[in-house]
């Protein structure tokens, strides 16, 4: 009832028909398309070439892949456990720094041309993902589980997540300090021409490929495996899941392992593309939440779509806007979505 009320409250309302039209999925998609066209037009007006715009769009897709890794985990945790996980960005950072730590232990191998990294990073990626997942699960065992037992409202869970975020960050600060870091220093990372003058770095192609692979694996898991189906069932209706005999503890464990694991991979990928900073995950949180809400909370495929849209809009905006404003652009998209269709692209009307 409170939700109903919250949604209904607010100034004079247009007619039901107009409201439905404004809040429709088509309208939102059209609006986003309009935003994109507007960005391109703005860029064109400032003399940016079509080629560069296309390059930016391709880079946007790549960035969207990284964001998707974070956003999918975030939306799963949101959907299954009802936790707005404000620690998710910091889980990504955590993953990146764990990989950095691994690199200092392992002997540096030859780069796998044309990429800038060696096989050791791939190995570390495989190790880091479960570790980040376990970190998330540990946080759940120590904090969220107790709050759930007390039937704490979602705001309290969000606050605990915020505490978890700063806890993780403090560990990162203690372990590595506040400076910028790189996985590899002094390795050239030239961009190569893909086709039609579109230039990207080989690393970025790898990142996109890896993101797609992980998302495909996740798809298989959610659609084919028993645990994946149980996760979707729990997201649909946790009470019914419990009375059907679904092992909800197992679902919780797997949700953290998968959500955290994807976040860890996303963090490593983001750090590979840019650099490592303790605050990077915090800054990514806005694009992550924007992707999740755009693609409807709890919908893993929606999060992927949302992340791709945010990635492309973000990159395209750099054609004429200071690149530092990336998270700000994501925020602008979020506000548009909240104004017109808070339940996101794939939500049912009134489902926000």
């Amino acid at each position: 009832m409170a939700r109903v009320l919250a949604r209904r409250a607010g100034g004079p309302r247009p007619s039901a028909r107009l409201r439905r039209a404004i809040g429709s999925r088509t309208a939102l998609v059209a609006l986003l398309a309009l935003v994109l066209v507007g960005l391109w037009w703005l860029a064109g007006a400032q003399g940016v070439t079509g080629q560069r715009l296309l390059s930016l769009a391709v880079r946007g897709v790549m960035l969207g892949g990284i964001l998707a890794l974070g956003a999918i985990g975030l939306t799963l945790i949101f959907g299954v456990l009802r936790i707005p996980n404000f620690a998710h960005g910091d889980l990504m950072t955590w993953g990146a720094y764990l990989a950095l730590f691994g690199l200092t232990l392992l002997p540096a191998g030859q780069p796998l041309a044309p990429f800038s990294f060696g096989a050791e990073l791939l190995l570390l990626l495989v190790l880091v993902m479960p570790l980040v997942g376990l970190t998330g699960y540990l946080l759940d065992r120590l904090v969220f589980r107790r709050l759930r037992a007390r039937r704490a409202p979602s705001v309290i869970l969000a606050m605990a997540a915020l505490g978890g975020a700063f806890l993780l960050r403090s560990v990162i600060y203690l372990g590595w300090g506040a400076d910028f870091r790189n996985f590899y220093t002094g390795r050239p990372r030239p961009a190569v021409e893909l086709f039609a003058g579109i230039r990207v770095r080989p690393d970025q192609l790898f990142i996109l490929g890896l993101a797609l692979l992980l998302i495909f694996l996740l798809y298989l898991l959610l659609e084919r495996s028993k645990m994946g189906k149980a996760m979707r069932a729990t997201a649909d209706n946790a009470d019914l899941a419990r009375i059907s005999g679904i092992d909800t503890e197992g679902v919780i464990r797997w949700t953290w392992l998968i959500g955290g694991g994807l976040a860890g991979a996303g963090g490593v990928m983001f750090a590979l593309d840019t650099q490592l900073r303790p605050e990077m995950g915090w800054w990514l949180m806005l694009p992550l939440f924007s992707s999740v809400i755009l693609g409807t909370i709890g919908n893993a495929y929606g999060a992927l779509v949302g992340a791709l849209i945010i990635g492309v809009v973000w990159q395209t905006s750099t054609a004429f806007l200071n690149p530092a404003y990336g998270p700000g652009v994501a925020f602008a998209v979020l506000i548009l979505v909240l104004l017109f269709r808070p339940q996101g692209i794939f939500g049912r009307p009134g489902g926000a």
Binding site: K229, D239, L240, A241, I243, S244, G245, D247
Partner: protein, 234 residues
């Protein structure tokens, strides 16, 4: 020996007492119906039996075993399944996946069990890949029942299976309940539709104000003017 024996059950929500020393029995292989006016505590009785509410007093025995205070997931493993009145399917899962979730506690293939459910509900077999959220109310009810049958329960609890359905579908659902029972599953159901459920039930209890008022064979109660009085007072 009775499959389910409830004796002197008293419980409620918070400090609100809803059931007052309720007593009922379900024999193996029978259909038992609980009817009664609104607010009599019918659904609450179901929830208490299935462990969704802790009993304050009294006992609930399933076979030999006392199950009062056990959690629902333990009770499921003992062979009792429950179909809630509303929100009883996973809307984003397909029909087939819904059924699989019913058999979550089992390891190994569930194919055979699914086929048995599909035999019972041919309509579901046709729609096995459809998402449950897109189905009509009657079909959802069948999905929910099918999910509960996946574990081959000894006792099936149905909470108002006909609620919100069009008349034709109500007949269909009651027919299905009969079929389920014919396959050897005992059924304990709460029903709004007193007449229909009395026609079906081997035995029925009329609940008023949280306690049993009268009980008897379904057909006997059907003709009993006392039942009508209990509903509309007087």
């Amino acid at each position: 020996m009775a499959l389910l024996t409830v004796e002197g059950l008293t419980t409620g929500y918070g400090e609100m007492e809803v059931l007052r020393s309720l007593t009922l029995r379900v024999e193996p292989g029978r259909i038992v119906s609980i009817i009664g006016p609104n607010g009599a505590g019918k659904s609450t009785a179901m929830k208490a039996v299935f462990g969704l509410l802790k009993p304050w007093q009294g006992s609930i025995r399933f076979g030999e075993r006392e199950i009062g205070g056990l959690s629902p997931d333990r009770i499921v493993r003992l062979g009792m399944c429950y179909v809630p009145q509303t929100d009883n399917v996973f809307p984003s899962l397909t029909v087939e996946e819904n059924l699989e979730m019913g058999a979550f506690v089992l390891s190994g293939s569930t194919k055979e069990r699914k086929e048995r459910v599909f035999d019972l509900f041919p309509r579901l077999a046709e729609r096995r890949r459809q998402r449950a959220g897109k189905m009509s109310g009657g079909e959802r009810q069948m999905v929910a029942m099918g999910r509960a049958l996946m574990l081959d329960p000894k006792l099936l609890l149905l909470d108002e299976p006909s609620a919100g359905l069009a008349p034709l579908l109500v007949d269909l659902i009651f027919e299905k309940v009969r079929d389920i029972n014919a396959s050897g599953v005992a059924v304990l159901m709460v029903e709004q539709n007193a007449r229909k459920s009395l026609e079906l039930a081997d035995h029925a209890y009329v609940l008023v104000g949280g306690s049993n008022a009268i009980d008897g064979a379904g057909h006997d109660l059907l003709g009993d003017p006392e039942v009508g009085r209990l509903y509309l007072g007087g």
